[in-house]
Protein backbone atom coordinates (compact mmCIF):
# COMPACT_ATOMS: atom_id res chain seq x y z
CA UNK A 1 0.00 0.00 0.00
CA UNK A 2 2.93 2.33 0.62
CA UNK A 3 4.62 1.45 -2.67
CA UNK A 4 5.18 4.59 -4.74
CA UNK A 5 2.40 4.77 -7.34
CA UNK A 6 1.44 1.22 -6.37
CA UNK A 7 -2.04 0.09 -7.32
CA UNK A 8 -4.72 -0.62 -4.73
CA UNK A 9 -8.05 -2.35 -5.23
CA UNK A 10 -11.11 -0.29 -6.09
CA UNK A 11 -12.76 -1.56 -2.93
CA UNK A 12 -10.02 -0.38 -0.57
CA UNK A 13 -9.93 2.96 -2.42
CA UNK A 14 -13.62 3.48 -1.77
CA UNK A 15 -13.29 2.32 1.83
CA UNK A 16 -10.49 4.78 2.50
CA UNK A 17 -12.45 7.63 0.91
CA UNK A 18 -15.50 6.89 3.02
CA UNK A 19 -13.34 6.58 6.13
CA UNK A 20 -11.92 10.05 5.50
CA UNK A 21 -15.42 11.52 5.43
CA UNK A 22 -16.37 9.56 8.56
CA UNK A 23 -13.28 10.79 10.37
CA UNK A 24 -14.11 14.45 9.76
CA UNK A 25 -17.68 13.76 10.77
CA UNK A 26 -16.57 12.01 13.99
CA UNK A 27 -14.29 14.90 14.95
CA UNK A 28 -17.22 17.22 14.41
CA UNK A 29 -19.52 15.09 16.62
CA UNK A 30 -16.82 14.79 19.27
CA UNK A 31 -16.15 18.54 19.42
CA UNK A 32 -19.80 19.53 19.56
CA UNK A 33 -21.20 16.81 21.82
CA UNK A 34 -18.64 17.45 24.56
CA UNK A 35 -19.22 21.18 24.11
CA UNK A 36 -15.51 21.73 23.50
CA UNK A 37 -16.48 24.48 21.09
CA UNK A 38 -19.27 26.97 21.62
CA UNK A 39 -22.40 25.94 19.70
CA UNK A 40 -22.52 29.37 18.06
CA UNK A 41 -19.19 28.61 16.39
CA UNK A 42 -19.77 24.93 15.75
CA UNK A 43 -23.35 23.67 15.72
CA UNK A 44 -23.90 19.98 16.36
CA UNK A 45 -24.52 17.71 13.35
CA UNK A 46 -27.99 17.06 14.70
CA UNK A 47 -28.85 20.76 14.74
CA UNK A 48 -27.55 21.15 11.19
CA UNK A 49 -29.55 18.16 10.03
CA UNK A 50 -32.73 19.34 11.70
CA UNK A 51 -32.28 22.81 10.24
CA UNK A 52 -31.82 21.21 6.82
CA UNK A 53 -35.02 19.16 7.22
CA UNK A 54 -36.96 22.20 8.43
CA UNK A 55 -35.68 24.38 5.63
CA UNK A 56 -36.60 21.77 3.07
CA UNK A 57 -40.07 21.40 4.55
CA UNK A 58 -40.92 25.09 4.89
CA UNK A 59 -39.76 25.56 1.31
CA UNK A 60 -37.07 28.15 1.99
CA UNK A 61 -34.08 26.09 0.90
CA UNK A 62 -35.14 24.48 -2.36
CA UNK A 63 -35.85 27.71 -4.28
CA UNK A 64 -32.41 28.99 -3.28
CA UNK A 65 -30.79 25.79 -4.51
CA UNK A 66 -32.71 25.95 -7.78
CA UNK A 67 -31.90 29.57 -8.48
CA UNK A 68 -28.19 29.02 -7.76
CA UNK A 69 -28.06 25.97 -10.01
CA UNK A 70 -29.84 27.89 -12.72
CA UNK A 71 -27.27 30.71 -12.55
CA UNK A 72 -24.41 28.22 -12.73
CA UNK A 73 -26.02 26.50 -15.69
CA UNK A 74 -26.52 29.69 -17.68
CA UNK A 75 -23.16 31.20 -16.76
CA UNK A 76 -21.23 28.08 -17.71
CA UNK A 77 -23.35 27.54 -20.80
CA UNK A 78 -22.67 31.00 -22.25
CA UNK A 79 -18.99 30.82 -21.31
CA UNK A 80 -18.68 27.47 -23.11
CA UNK A 81 -20.59 28.67 -26.17
CA UNK A 82 -18.18 31.59 -26.56
CA UNK A 83 -15.04 30.09 -25.03
CA UNK A 84 -14.97 26.78 -26.87
CA UNK A 85 -14.71 28.13 -30.43
CA UNK A 86 -12.46 31.02 -29.41
CA UNK A 87 -10.20 28.59 -27.50
CA UNK A 88 -9.99 26.32 -30.54
CA UNK A 89 -9.07 29.29 -32.73
CA UNK A 90 -6.44 30.35 -30.22
CA UNK A 91 -4.93 26.86 -30.02
CA UNK A 92 -5.00 26.24 -33.76
CA UNK A 93 -3.78 29.42 -35.44
CA UNK A 94 -0.75 31.35 -34.23
CA UNK A 95 -2.22 34.60 -35.53
CA UNK A 96 -5.37 34.12 -33.50
CA UNK A 97 -3.25 33.20 -30.49
CA UNK A 98 -1.30 36.45 -30.78
CA UNK A 99 -4.57 38.37 -30.62
CA UNK A 100 -6.38 36.32 -28.00
CA UNK A 101 -3.80 34.97 -25.55
CA UNK A 102 -2.22 38.16 -24.15
CA UNK A 103 -5.68 39.71 -23.67
CA UNK A 104 -6.94 36.66 -21.81
CA UNK A 105 -3.79 36.40 -19.72
CA UNK A 106 -4.37 39.99 -18.65
CA UNK A 107 -8.05 39.66 -17.84
CA UNK A 108 -7.71 36.36 -16.00
CA UNK A 109 -5.43 37.93 -13.41
CA UNK A 110 -8.10 40.46 -12.51
CA UNK A 111 -9.90 39.17 -9.40
CA UNK A 112 -13.52 38.40 -10.13
CA UNK A 113 -14.91 40.10 -6.98
CA UNK A 114 -13.45 43.36 -8.29
CA UNK A 115 -15.88 43.10 -11.19
CA UNK A 116 -18.94 42.95 -8.93
CA UNK A 117 -19.47 46.73 -8.67
CA UNK A 118 -18.88 47.15 -12.39
CA UNK A 119 -21.26 44.35 -13.27
CA UNK A 120 -23.89 45.99 -11.04
CA UNK A 121 -23.49 49.22 -12.94
CA UNK A 122 -23.71 47.41 -16.25
CA UNK A 123 -26.40 44.87 -15.57
CA UNK A 124 -28.09 45.96 -12.35
CA UNK A 125 -28.77 43.39 -9.64
CA UNK A 126 -31.03 41.05 -11.59
CA UNK A 127 -30.36 37.56 -12.88
CA UNK A 128 -28.34 38.81 -15.83
CA UNK A 129 -25.84 40.41 -13.43
CA UNK A 130 -24.99 37.08 -11.75
CA UNK A 131 -24.78 35.28 -15.04
CA UNK A 132 -22.58 38.02 -16.47
CA UNK A 133 -20.21 37.80 -13.51
CA UNK A 134 -19.92 34.02 -13.87
CA UNK A 135 -19.42 34.47 -17.59
CA UNK A 136 -16.57 36.97 -17.08
CA UNK A 137 -15.02 34.85 -14.35
CA UNK A 138 -14.96 31.65 -16.37
CA UNK A 139 -14.59 32.77 -19.98
CA UNK A 140 -10.96 33.91 -20.03
CA UNK A 141 -9.65 30.95 -18.10
CA UNK A 142 -11.70 28.65 -20.27
CA UNK A 143 -10.34 30.08 -23.53
CA UNK A 144 -6.75 29.55 -22.39
CA UNK A 145 -7.40 26.05 -21.11
CA UNK A 146 -9.26 24.99 -24.26
CA UNK A 147 -6.35 26.39 -26.28
CA UNK A 148 -3.99 24.21 -24.23
CA UNK A 149 -6.23 21.21 -24.80
CA UNK A 150 -5.92 21.87 -28.53
CA UNK A 151 -2.13 22.18 -28.48
CA UNK A 152 -1.79 18.95 -26.52
CA UNK A 153 -3.14 16.98 -29.48
CA UNK A 154 -0.03 15.39 -30.99
CA UNK A 155 1.36 16.82 -34.23
CA UNK A 156 1.69 13.37 -35.73
CA UNK A 157 -2.03 12.72 -35.32
CA UNK A 158 -2.67 15.79 -37.48
CA UNK A 159 0.11 14.81 -39.88
CA UNK A 160 -1.45 11.37 -40.23
CA UNK A 161 -4.64 13.15 -41.28
CA UNK A 162 -2.83 15.33 -43.81
CA UNK A 163 -1.13 12.35 -45.44
CA UNK A 164 -4.54 10.68 -45.73
CA UNK A 165 -5.76 13.69 -47.67
CA UNK A 166 -7.53 15.74 -44.99
CA UNK A 167 -8.11 19.39 -45.83
CA UNK A 168 -7.58 22.10 -43.23
CA UNK A 169 -11.26 22.16 -42.38
CA UNK A 170 -11.47 18.36 -42.14
CA UNK A 171 -8.39 18.30 -39.94
CA UNK A 172 -10.08 20.62 -37.47
CA UNK A 173 -13.54 19.05 -37.46
CA UNK A 174 -12.64 15.39 -37.88
CA UNK A 175 -9.33 15.08 -36.03
CA UNK A 176 -8.52 18.02 -33.78
CA UNK A 177 -11.91 18.40 -32.10
CA UNK A 178 -12.67 14.70 -31.49
CA UNK A 179 -9.13 14.21 -30.18
CA UNK A 180 -9.40 17.08 -27.70
CA UNK A 181 -12.92 16.43 -26.41
CA UNK A 182 -11.96 14.18 -23.46
CA UNK A 183 -9.57 16.84 -22.17
CA UNK A 184 -12.25 19.51 -22.66
CA UNK A 185 -14.53 17.53 -20.41
CA UNK A 186 -11.89 17.64 -17.65
CA UNK A 187 -11.51 21.38 -18.24
CA UNK A 188 -15.26 21.81 -17.95
CA UNK A 189 -15.33 19.93 -14.63
CA UNK A 190 -12.71 22.28 -13.24
CA UNK A 191 -14.59 25.34 -14.56
CA UNK A 192 -17.81 24.33 -12.82
CA UNK A 193 -15.89 24.18 -9.54
CA UNK A 194 -14.71 27.75 -10.06
CA UNK A 195 -18.17 28.81 -11.14
CA UNK A 196 -19.54 27.96 -7.67
CA UNK A 197 -16.92 30.18 -6.06
CA UNK A 198 -17.79 33.14 -8.25
CA UNK A 199 -21.49 32.56 -7.80
CA UNK A 200 -21.30 32.64 -4.02
CA UNK A 201 -19.25 35.83 -4.22
CA UNK A 202 -21.91 37.41 -6.42
CA UNK A 203 -24.76 36.23 -4.24
CA UNK A 204 -23.15 37.47 -1.05
CA UNK A 205 -22.59 40.94 -2.40
CA UNK A 206 -25.72 41.65 -4.34
CA UNK A 207 -28.61 39.25 -4.33
CA UNK A 208 -31.83 38.42 -2.57
CA UNK A 209 -31.89 34.76 -3.49
CA UNK A 210 -29.54 31.83 -3.89
CA UNK A 211 -27.36 29.76 -1.59
CA UNK A 212 -24.76 32.50 -1.19
CA UNK A 213 -27.49 34.91 -0.13
CA UNK A 214 -28.88 32.38 2.37
CA UNK A 215 -25.42 31.98 3.92
CA UNK A 216 -25.01 35.73 4.13
CA UNK A 217 -28.44 36.18 5.71
CA UNK A 218 -27.74 33.43 8.26
CA UNK A 219 -24.55 35.17 9.30
CA UNK A 220 -26.46 38.34 10.16
CA UNK A 221 -28.52 36.38 12.66
CA UNK A 222 -25.57 34.27 13.85
CA UNK A 223 -27.37 31.17 12.65
CA UNK A 224 -24.31 28.98 12.20
CA UNK A 225 -26.38 25.87 11.56
CA UNK A 226 -27.90 27.61 8.55
CA UNK A 227 -24.45 28.62 7.35
CA UNK A 228 -23.34 25.00 7.65
CA UNK A 229 -26.34 23.82 5.67
CA UNK A 230 -25.57 26.33 2.91
CA UNK A 231 -21.93 25.32 2.72
CA UNK A 232 -22.64 21.60 2.83
CA UNK A 233 -25.32 21.84 0.17
CA UNK A 234 -22.91 23.68 -2.14
CA UNK A 235 -20.25 21.07 -1.45
CA UNK A 236 -22.59 18.19 -2.17
CA UNK A 237 -23.97 19.79 -5.33
CA UNK A 238 -20.42 20.31 -6.55
CA UNK A 239 -19.49 16.72 -5.72
CA UNK A 240 -22.55 15.30 -7.51
CA UNK A 241 -22.00 17.44 -10.60
CA UNK A 242 -18.37 16.44 -10.77
CA UNK A 243 -19.07 12.72 -10.35
CA UNK A 244 -21.85 12.92 -12.91
CA UNK A 245 -19.55 14.55 -15.48
CA UNK A 246 -16.79 12.08 -14.63
CA UNK A 247 -18.98 9.07 -15.37
CA UNK A 248 -20.49 10.74 -18.41
CA UNK A 249 -16.97 11.36 -19.70
CA UNK A 250 -15.97 7.74 -19.05
CA UNK A 251 -19.02 6.58 -20.95
CA UNK A 252 -18.65 8.97 -23.91
CA UNK A 253 -14.88 8.68 -24.20
CA UNK A 254 -14.44 4.98 -23.43
CA UNK A 255 -11.85 4.87 -26.22
CA UNK A 256 -9.30 7.02 -24.36
CA UNK A 257 -6.07 5.07 -23.91
CA UNK A 258 -4.66 4.40 -20.48
CA UNK A 259 -8.02 4.54 -18.67
Amino acid sequence: MLKIRGAISKQSYTTLSIMAFCFVFLVWIFLSSFRLVNAVFLPSPLNVLSYFVDAMQDGSLLPNIMISCQRILFGVFFAVVVGFPVGILCGTFKGAEAVIRPLCEFVRYLPVPAFVPLVMVWAGIGESAKILLLFIGILFQLILMIADDVTSVSDDLLNAGYTLGATRRQTITKILIPAMLPRCMDTLRMMIGWAWTYLVVAEMVAANSGLGYSIMKAQRFLKTDAIFVGILVIGLLGLFTDRFLYFLSKELFHWVEGK
Partner: protein
Protein backbone atom coordinates in the same frame (compact mmCIF):
# COMPACT_ATOMS: atom_id res chain seq x y z
CA UNK B 1 9.01 -19.04 -28.26
CA UNK B 2 6.64 -18.97 -31.21
CA UNK B 3 8.07 -20.08 -34.51
CA UNK B 4 7.90 -17.75 -37.45
CA UNK B 5 5.57 -19.99 -39.39
CA UNK B 6 3.05 -19.75 -36.56
CA UNK B 7 3.54 -16.02 -36.45
CA UNK B 8 3.06 -15.66 -40.16
CA UNK B 9 -0.07 -17.77 -39.90
CA UNK B 10 -1.31 -15.50 -37.19
CA UNK B 11 -0.60 -12.54 -39.40
CA UNK B 12 -2.65 -14.05 -42.18
CA UNK B 13 0.23 -14.28 -44.61
CA UNK B 14 -1.02 -17.52 -46.13
CA UNK B 15 -4.30 -15.89 -47.05
CA UNK B 16 -2.26 -13.01 -48.35
CA UNK B 17 -0.57 -15.31 -50.81
CA UNK B 18 -3.96 -16.49 -52.07
CA UNK B 19 -4.96 -12.89 -52.63
CA UNK B 20 -2.21 -12.49 -55.20
CA UNK B 21 -3.99 -11.12 -58.23
CA UNK B 22 -1.44 -11.66 -60.97
CA UNK B 23 1.87 -9.89 -61.14
CA UNK B 24 2.12 -6.19 -61.61
CA UNK B 25 2.83 -5.19 -65.19
CA UNK B 26 6.48 -4.55 -65.89
CA UNK B 27 7.06 -0.82 -65.94
CA UNK B 28 10.38 0.71 -66.80
CA UNK B 29 11.99 2.80 -64.09
CA UNK B 30 10.03 6.00 -63.76
CA UNK B 31 10.73 8.28 -60.87
CA UNK B 32 8.00 8.68 -58.28
CA UNK B 33 10.03 10.87 -55.97
CA UNK B 34 13.00 13.02 -56.78
CA UNK B 35 15.20 14.76 -54.24
CA UNK B 36 17.28 17.51 -55.85
CA UNK B 37 20.14 19.15 -53.93
CA UNK B 38 18.06 19.38 -50.79
CA UNK B 39 19.51 21.42 -47.97
CA UNK B 40 18.12 21.90 -44.47
CA UNK B 41 19.55 24.59 -42.25
CA UNK B 42 18.27 25.29 -38.75
CA UNK B 43 19.15 28.83 -37.88
CA UNK B 44 18.69 30.57 -34.58
CA UNK B 45 19.90 34.03 -33.64
CA UNK B 46 23.24 32.64 -32.43
CA UNK B 47 24.04 29.72 -34.63
CA UNK B 48 23.38 28.02 -37.91
CA UNK B 49 23.22 24.24 -38.07
CA UNK B 50 23.53 22.61 -41.44
CA UNK B 51 21.48 19.47 -40.94
CA UNK B 52 21.45 18.42 -44.58
CA UNK B 53 23.37 19.42 -47.65
CA UNK B 54 23.35 18.43 -51.32
CA UNK B 55 21.08 15.52 -50.72
CA UNK B 56 20.04 13.74 -53.91
CA UNK B 57 17.83 10.71 -54.34
CA UNK B 58 15.66 9.13 -56.95
CA UNK B 59 12.90 6.76 -56.00
CA UNK B 60 11.42 4.78 -58.87
CA UNK B 61 8.07 3.14 -59.24
CA UNK B 62 7.71 -0.25 -57.51
CA UNK B 63 10.97 0.11 -55.60
CA UNK B 64 11.32 -0.67 -51.93
CA UNK B 65 13.83 1.93 -50.81
CA UNK B 66 15.36 1.95 -47.35
CA UNK B 67 17.14 5.00 -46.01
CA UNK B 68 19.63 4.18 -43.32
CA UNK B 69 22.15 6.22 -41.41
CA UNK B 70 23.37 7.24 -37.97
CA UNK B 71 21.16 9.42 -35.80
CA UNK B 72 21.44 13.06 -36.83
CA UNK B 73 21.80 12.29 -40.53
CA UNK B 74 18.36 13.76 -41.14
CA UNK B 75 16.73 10.63 -42.49
CA UNK B 76 13.46 11.23 -40.65
CA UNK B 77 13.50 14.91 -41.61
CA UNK B 78 14.01 13.89 -45.22
CA UNK B 79 11.03 11.54 -45.05
CA UNK B 80 8.87 14.31 -43.58
CA UNK B 81 9.98 16.55 -46.43
CA UNK B 82 8.92 13.85 -48.90
CA UNK B 83 5.54 13.78 -47.16
CA UNK B 84 5.30 17.56 -47.35
CA UNK B 85 5.01 18.11 -43.61
CA UNK B 86 8.50 19.64 -43.39
CA UNK B 87 10.33 21.73 -45.96
CA UNK B 88 13.87 22.08 -47.29
CA UNK B 89 15.64 25.44 -46.99
CA UNK B 90 17.07 24.96 -50.48
CA UNK B 91 16.66 22.45 -53.28
CA UNK B 92 13.47 20.77 -54.45
CA UNK B 93 11.48 17.62 -54.00
CA UNK B 94 9.29 16.35 -56.82
CA UNK B 95 6.50 13.82 -56.55
CA UNK B 96 5.47 12.45 -59.93
CA UNK B 97 7.18 15.43 -61.52
CA UNK B 98 5.29 18.01 -59.45
CA UNK B 99 7.04 20.14 -56.87
CA UNK B 100 6.04 19.11 -53.35
CA UNK B 101 4.49 22.08 -51.56
CA UNK B 102 2.48 20.24 -48.90
CA UNK B 103 1.10 16.88 -47.83
CA UNK B 104 -1.22 14.90 -50.05
CA UNK B 105 -3.00 11.58 -50.22
CA UNK B 106 -0.63 10.48 -53.02
CA UNK B 107 2.05 10.07 -50.34
CA UNK B 108 0.78 7.89 -47.48
CA UNK B 109 2.73 7.73 -44.27
CA UNK B 110 3.23 5.40 -41.32
CA UNK B 111 4.76 7.04 -38.26
CA UNK B 112 6.98 5.65 -35.53
CA UNK B 113 4.58 6.88 -32.85
CA UNK B 114 1.11 5.35 -32.80
CA UNK B 115 -1.12 7.67 -34.77
CA UNK B 116 -4.36 5.73 -35.06
CA UNK B 117 -7.41 7.84 -34.30
CA UNK B 118 -8.32 6.44 -30.88
CA UNK B 119 -12.03 7.32 -31.12
CA UNK B 120 -12.46 5.23 -34.27
CA UNK B 121 -12.59 1.46 -34.52
CA UNK B 122 -9.93 -0.34 -36.52
CA UNK B 123 -12.31 -0.51 -39.47
CA UNK B 124 -13.20 3.19 -39.27
CA UNK B 125 -9.50 4.07 -39.13
CA UNK B 126 -8.86 2.18 -42.35
CA UNK B 127 -11.92 3.74 -44.04
CA UNK B 128 -10.95 7.25 -42.99
CA UNK B 129 -8.76 8.00 -46.04
CA UNK B 130 -11.23 6.76 -48.67
CA UNK B 131 -13.98 8.62 -46.79
CA UNK B 132 -12.03 11.89 -46.92
CA UNK B 133 -11.56 11.37 -50.64
CA UNK B 134 -15.33 11.06 -51.00
CA UNK B 135 -15.40 7.38 -51.99
CA UNK B 136 -18.77 5.59 -51.98
CA UNK B 137 -19.51 3.67 -48.78
CA UNK B 138 -19.53 0.34 -50.65
CA UNK B 139 -16.04 1.11 -51.90
CA UNK B 140 -15.01 2.06 -48.36
CA UNK B 141 -16.25 -1.27 -47.04
CA UNK B 142 -14.57 -3.31 -49.76
CA UNK B 143 -11.28 -1.50 -49.25
CA UNK B 144 -11.49 -1.86 -45.46
CA UNK B 145 -12.14 -5.61 -45.73
CA UNK B 146 -9.35 -6.10 -48.25
CA UNK B 147 -6.73 -4.39 -46.11
CA UNK B 148 -7.96 -5.83 -42.81
CA UNK B 149 -7.35 -9.20 -44.45
CA UNK B 150 -3.99 -8.12 -45.82
CA UNK B 151 -2.71 -7.36 -42.33
CA UNK B 152 -4.58 -10.27 -40.73
CA UNK B 153 -6.83 -8.27 -38.42
CA UNK B 154 -10.35 -9.19 -39.65
CA UNK B 155 -11.28 -10.27 -36.15
CA UNK B 156 -10.41 -6.86 -34.76
CA UNK B 157 -12.45 -4.76 -37.19
CA UNK B 158 -14.71 -3.46 -34.40
CA UNK B 159 -11.97 -3.04 -31.78
CA UNK B 160 -10.68 0.31 -30.63
CA UNK B 161 -6.94 1.11 -30.81
CA UNK B 162 -6.61 0.97 -27.03
CA UNK B 163 -7.44 -2.73 -27.17
CA UNK B 164 -4.56 -3.48 -29.57
CA UNK B 165 -0.90 -4.29 -28.97
CA UNK B 166 1.84 -2.10 -30.45
CA UNK B 167 2.43 -4.45 -33.38
CA UNK B 168 -1.27 -4.62 -34.17
CA UNK B 169 -1.55 -0.83 -34.07
CA UNK B 170 1.21 -0.52 -36.65
CA UNK B 171 -0.46 -3.13 -38.83
CA UNK B 172 -3.64 -1.03 -38.78
CA UNK B 173 -1.56 2.07 -39.56
CA UNK B 174 -0.08 0.28 -42.59
CA UNK B 175 -3.52 -0.87 -43.70
CA UNK B 176 -4.89 2.65 -43.25
CA UNK B 177 -2.12 4.15 -45.38
CA UNK B 178 -2.46 1.47 -48.09
CA UNK B 179 -6.25 1.77 -48.24
CA UNK B 180 -5.81 5.18 -49.87
CA UNK B 181 -3.84 3.60 -52.72
CA UNK B 182 -0.98 6.11 -52.45
CA UNK B 183 1.66 6.35 -55.17
CA UNK B 184 4.27 5.89 -52.49
CA UNK B 185 4.19 4.69 -48.90
CA UNK B 186 6.51 6.58 -46.56
CA UNK B 187 7.49 4.75 -43.37
CA UNK B 188 9.36 6.41 -40.51
CA UNK B 189 10.96 3.70 -38.35
CA UNK B 190 7.53 2.09 -38.02
CA UNK B 191 8.82 -0.98 -36.15
CA UNK B 192 11.29 0.91 -33.95
CA UNK B 193 9.21 0.54 -30.79
CA UNK B 194 8.36 -3.15 -31.20
CA UNK B 195 9.95 -6.17 -29.51
CA UNK B 196 12.30 -8.28 -31.67
CA UNK B 197 9.83 -11.13 -32.41
CA UNK B 198 7.02 -8.80 -33.41
CA UNK B 199 9.50 -6.76 -35.39
CA UNK B 200 10.63 -9.76 -37.45
CA UNK B 201 7.04 -10.77 -38.09
CA UNK B 202 6.21 -7.23 -39.18
CA UNK B 203 9.21 -7.14 -41.53
CA UNK B 204 8.03 -10.36 -43.14
CA UNK B 205 4.49 -9.01 -43.43
CA UNK B 206 5.72 -5.78 -44.98
CA UNK B 207 7.91 -7.62 -47.45
CA UNK B 208 5.06 -9.98 -48.42
CA UNK B 209 2.70 -7.08 -48.95
CA UNK B 210 5.28 -5.50 -51.22
CA UNK B 211 5.91 -8.75 -53.12
CA UNK B 212 2.21 -8.89 -53.94
CA UNK B 213 1.39 -5.25 -54.58
CA UNK B 214 4.72 -3.68 -55.48
CA UNK B 215 3.67 -0.46 -53.81
CA UNK B 216 6.54 2.01 -53.94
CA UNK B 217 7.92 2.25 -50.41
CA UNK B 218 10.41 4.59 -48.75
CA UNK B 219 11.34 3.15 -45.39
CA UNK B 220 13.54 4.95 -42.86
CA UNK B 221 15.34 2.81 -40.29
CA UNK B 222 18.53 2.60 -38.28
CA UNK B 223 18.41 -1.18 -38.24
CA UNK B 224 20.80 -2.47 -40.93
CA UNK B 225 19.38 -5.98 -40.98
CA UNK B 226 15.88 -4.60 -41.41
CA UNK B 227 16.99 -2.45 -44.32
CA UNK B 228 18.76 -5.29 -46.15
CA UNK B 229 15.88 -7.68 -45.62
CA UNK B 230 13.23 -5.28 -46.91
CA UNK B 231 14.87 -3.17 -49.56
CA UNK B 232 15.50 -3.42 -53.25
CA UNK B 233 17.63 -0.27 -52.95
CA UNK B 234 19.33 1.27 -49.94
CA UNK B 235 20.53 4.82 -49.46
CA UNK B 236 23.24 4.94 -46.80
CA UNK B 237 23.48 8.42 -45.30
CA UNK B 238 26.16 10.16 -43.28
CA UNK B 239 25.63 12.83 -40.64
CA UNK B 240 26.88 16.40 -40.05
CA UNK B 241 25.79 17.44 -42.55
CA UNK B 242 23.35 14.78 -43.68
CA UNK B 243 23.87 13.57 -47.22
CA UNK B 244 23.81 10.37 -49.24
CA UNK B 245 27.02 8.43 -48.84
CA UNK B 246 26.21 5.49 -51.05
CA UNK B 247 23.42 3.97 -53.06
CA UNK B 248 23.27 0.19 -52.90
CA UNK B 249 21.13 -2.05 -55.10
CA UNK B 250 20.38 -5.09 -52.93
CA UNK B 251 21.44 -8.23 -54.82
CA UNK B 252 18.94 -10.54 -53.13
CA UNK B 253 16.07 -12.57 -54.64
CA UNK B 254 12.60 -11.09 -54.87
CA UNK B 255 10.91 -13.84 -52.82
CA UNK B 256 12.26 -13.46 -49.31
CA UNK B 257 11.64 -15.27 -46.03
CA UNK B 258 13.22 -14.67 -42.66
CA UNK B 259 15.74 -17.49 -43.33
CA UNK B 260 17.37 -15.09 -45.74
CA UNK B 261 18.97 -13.32 -42.81
CA UNK B 262 21.40 -16.28 -42.44
CA UNK B 263 22.25 -16.21 -46.14
CA UNK B 264 25.88 -15.41 -47.04
CA UNK B 265 24.94 -12.77 -49.59
CA UNK B 266 22.69 -11.10 -47.01
CA UNK B 267 25.50 -11.00 -44.46
CA UNK B 268 27.86 -9.54 -47.06
CA UNK B 269 25.53 -6.62 -47.78
CA UNK B 270 24.95 -6.11 -44.08
CA UNK B 271 28.71 -5.94 -43.45
CA UNK B 272 29.21 -3.52 -46.31
CA UNK B 273 26.66 -1.13 -44.85
CA UNK B 274 28.05 -1.59 -41.36
CA UNK B 275 31.47 -0.48 -42.58
CA UNK B 276 29.94 2.53 -44.35
CA UNK B 277 28.20 3.69 -41.21
CA UNK B 278 31.04 3.13 -38.75
Amino acid sequence: MVSFSTLSNALGLNRLAELNVGSVEAVGPSSVLQVNNVEKIYSSRRSKTVAMQDCNMEINKNEFVCIIGPSGCGKSTLLRMLAGIDFPTAGQIFANGRLVTGPGSDRGMVFQTYTLFPWMTVEENIKFGPKLLGKHSDVQNTVANEYLKAVGLEKFAKSYPKELSGGMKQRVAIARALANHPDVLLMDEPFGALDPQTKSAMQLLMRQIWQIRHTTVVFVTHDIEEAVFLATKIYVMKAHPGMVKKEIIVPLPEQRTLDLKDNLEFIKVRRQINRLIE
